[in-house]
Amino acid sequence: MGVQIAFWLFAILVAGTALYAAVAPKIVHAAFSLMATFFGVAGIYAILGSDFLAVTQVLVYVGGIMVLIVFGVLLTDRVPEEYKVVAPRRWLPALIAGGLCFAAIAGALKSTVWPISSSTPLGDATSTVEGIGRSLLTDYLIPFEFASILLLVVLVGAARLARGQVR
């Protein structure tokens, strides 16, 4: 019962702040609203027993991505005022399209017979950290190593784009 209440609280937090992020009149407001969304998602992960995922969500999204977005807003201050307003001008078509997508996805998920397991990601362990670490360095060793190549290449590319062409 407590879990149910917690879930609905977090769910309302996520949906509400995400909606505000989409319709907020100022980008900064939208950004801070999104921060609350990320926290709410972390809460849902925690309820589901994914402790590591919840902490990572806070660290990466709230700590990293959020700061990046705020910096982006601050550094592009020369943008004319009218572009900063993200208020929905055509909210009715957006509402209809979004509603239809929601109905289709919700309907499909609801009417599917899911193979439900009673076990949580934790299993018998007290924390998922060990299992994730083990998986990354055994079964998923190759993708894990490849991720470093991906990050390296993207880092080099981002630096190149930020610096501009060598003259």
């Binding site: 190759i142 490849f146 290449v153 993207v154 590319g157």
Partner: protein
């Protein structure tokens, strides 16, 4: 269905040296990853910025990797830690790797020939090797995490290459549009993959194929199929995710557009062929293509609808174009449509295998004709400073070798005999007709006829249009340019006349899985 154990509760292999993956089977890909680091270190040690050394280094390394793939033996079974199937360097991935590496080599060559300064920057080559490594991984990945990582690597490096000249306004626009569409389509695909994982509880394609076949039709799986297709459609520039393609190809440097049009597209089709037929050809597990009931599978319906929309949109939109680079972008969309049309008859039967071989064969031909055509665009941008078709006016008289070679490429892209493009189209259409999808094949044929009109436009400019005094074509190809163009045109005729039997056999061997 029995409840499954989540990912983390699965038994993992013991932590010992004998569980290490067989690295010798990943050597070509490993070399590509190593080159990313080598070029960075060379740049760091030299500390002098751009140099003619990097293109040479790149071409050398790509050539070595190409030979390693070409002469390496193909063994059965997947590679991974302790037998976990991370990737499968089989015959199918081998032939696609050859396509990626050949395209990468040619791209570096084109950038050098275009005399654009960025081709000598170390960063360009780092990104290119990252892209090639991602493509090679994508073509052989057999579980979802590696598949997604490789997919994103190909996407991100594509964004970086397309926006490489970001100080140029059109380059910046190309890069930004590509990122926006890429981010949305990745999110959509990831949601689809998460549904598949939620339903099957496994990342491995083999297990997923089995569980999906046992599950039958479920609404969430239909949704997943649509969403995952969205991700594939983005990279293949297929409807409804093709909108970025013309702007990106036009805004990118011509050699980069060539790389995206051939290698990127081949990579996503390589992954698509694997996903569609996983475990099906060898008969061990049911094919994913049959996951929602047999002949009227939802995957097939999606493929057919997208194929029809893609080729029709690509061909009709190409009619109005006056820029050759933009026209080739629409042409590449149309070609994705033809390939999807044939992909819709892929299956475990003999006809399905012929369809797969047809797609592989077409990529081998497409590589030659499309890269050749993009080289002409590279020359136009270099010498005339524009990709407008009118810049070709009078070329038939002034540079007959270049004009005739380009004409052969255009004939081949249209699919006219006696070029290799004709044989390729034949192999794409044959399985569709043999399966009895006459309407689909008819739509394809009508599209082919429409494409004749816009491919003829450059021909008219080159051979028929009268030159205006003082406005002669500014193209000034030197001996090397002519040699390159001829090297792309001659194989098209040879393959179209008598050499195609060998290539067809190559394609058939590639799709017949190693026993």
């Amino acid at each position: 269905m029995t409840p499954f154990l989540p990912l983390l509760a699965q038994e993992t292999a013991k932590l010992e040296m004998s569980s290490m993956p067989d690295l010798s089977r990943m050597l070509p890909g490993g070399l590509l990853c190593l080159m990313v680091i080598v070029i960075l270190v060379v740049d760091l040690v030299r500390g002098k910025g751009p140099s003619a050394l990097y293109p040479k280094l790149s071409m050398g390394a790509i050539a070595v990797a190409f030979l390693m793939v070409l002469f390496g033996t193909v063994k059965a079974g997947a590679v991974g830690y302790g037998g976990f199937p991370s990737l499968d360097p089989d015959a199918l991935s081998r032939i696609f790797k050859l396509v990626f590496l050949a395209t990468g080599f040619v791209t570096v060559l084109f950038v050098e020939r275009s005399r654009q300064a960025f081709g000598r920057e170390a960063e360009f080559h780092v990104i290119l090797f990252g892209a090639l490594a991602g493509m090679c991984y994508l073509a052989s990945a057999t579980e979802m995490i590696g598949f997604y990582l490789a997919f994103e690597t190909v996407s991100y490096t594509g964004f970086l290459l397309a926006g490489y000249k970001a100080d140029d306004r059109r380059g910046a626009e190309a890069g930004t549009k590509f990122v926006m569409f890429g981010a949305v389509s990745s999110a959509v695909m990831l949601f689809g993959l998460s549904l598949v994982y939620g339903f099957t509880g496994s990342m491995q394609f083999a297990v997923i194929a089995e569980k999906l076949a046992a599950a039958g039709s479920q609404p969430a799986l239909v949704l997943a199929a649509i969403f995952v297709f969205g991700g594939f459609a983005f990279k293949a520039a297929a409807f409804p995710m093709q909108w970025w393609c013309p702007d990106v190809y036009e805004g990118s440097p011509a050699p980069v557009a060539a790389f995206l049009a051939v290698a990127s597209k081949a990579a996503v089709f390589a992954a698509g062929l694997r996903v569609l037929t996983y475990g099906g050809v060898s008969g061990s597990a049911p094919a994913l293509s049959h996951l929602m009931g047999h002949d009227s599978s939802i995957v097939q319906t999606i493929l057919i609808c997208s194929a029809v929309a893609t080729m029709t949109w690509g061909n009709f939109a190409a009619l109005r174009q006056s820029s050759l680079q933009r026209m080739l972008a629409y042409s590449s969309i149309a070609h994705a449509g033809y390939l999807l049309m044939t992909a819709s008859v892929i299956g475990t039967d003999k006809l399905g295998q012929e369809a797969m071989a047809g797609i592989v064969f077409y990529f081998l031909i497409y590589l030659v004709m499309n890269l050749g055509a993009f080289y002409v665009v590279t020359l136009m941008r270099r010498d005339a400073g524009t990709a407008d078709i009118s810049a070709l006016r009078g070329m038939g008289r002034r540079h007959p070798v270049l004009a005739v070679s380009f004409a052969i490429m255009l004939f081949s892209l249209t699919g006219l005999p006696p070029t290799a493009g004709f044989v390729g189209k034949l192999q794409l259409f044959w399985p569709v007709v043999a399966k009895g999808y006459y309407l689909l094949a008819a739509v394809g044929l009508v599209n082919g006829a429409v494409s004749l009109y816009f491919y003829a436009k450059p021909l008219r400019e080159m051979f028929l249009a009268a030159e205006v005094e003082g406005e002669e074509t500014r193209l000034a190809p030197d001996g090397v340019d002519l040699a390159i163009v001829t090297a792309f045109a001659v194989p098209l005729v040879i393959l179209g006349l008598f050499g195609w039997g060998n290539v067809t056999q190559m394609a058939m061997d590639a799709v017949a899985r190693v026993p």
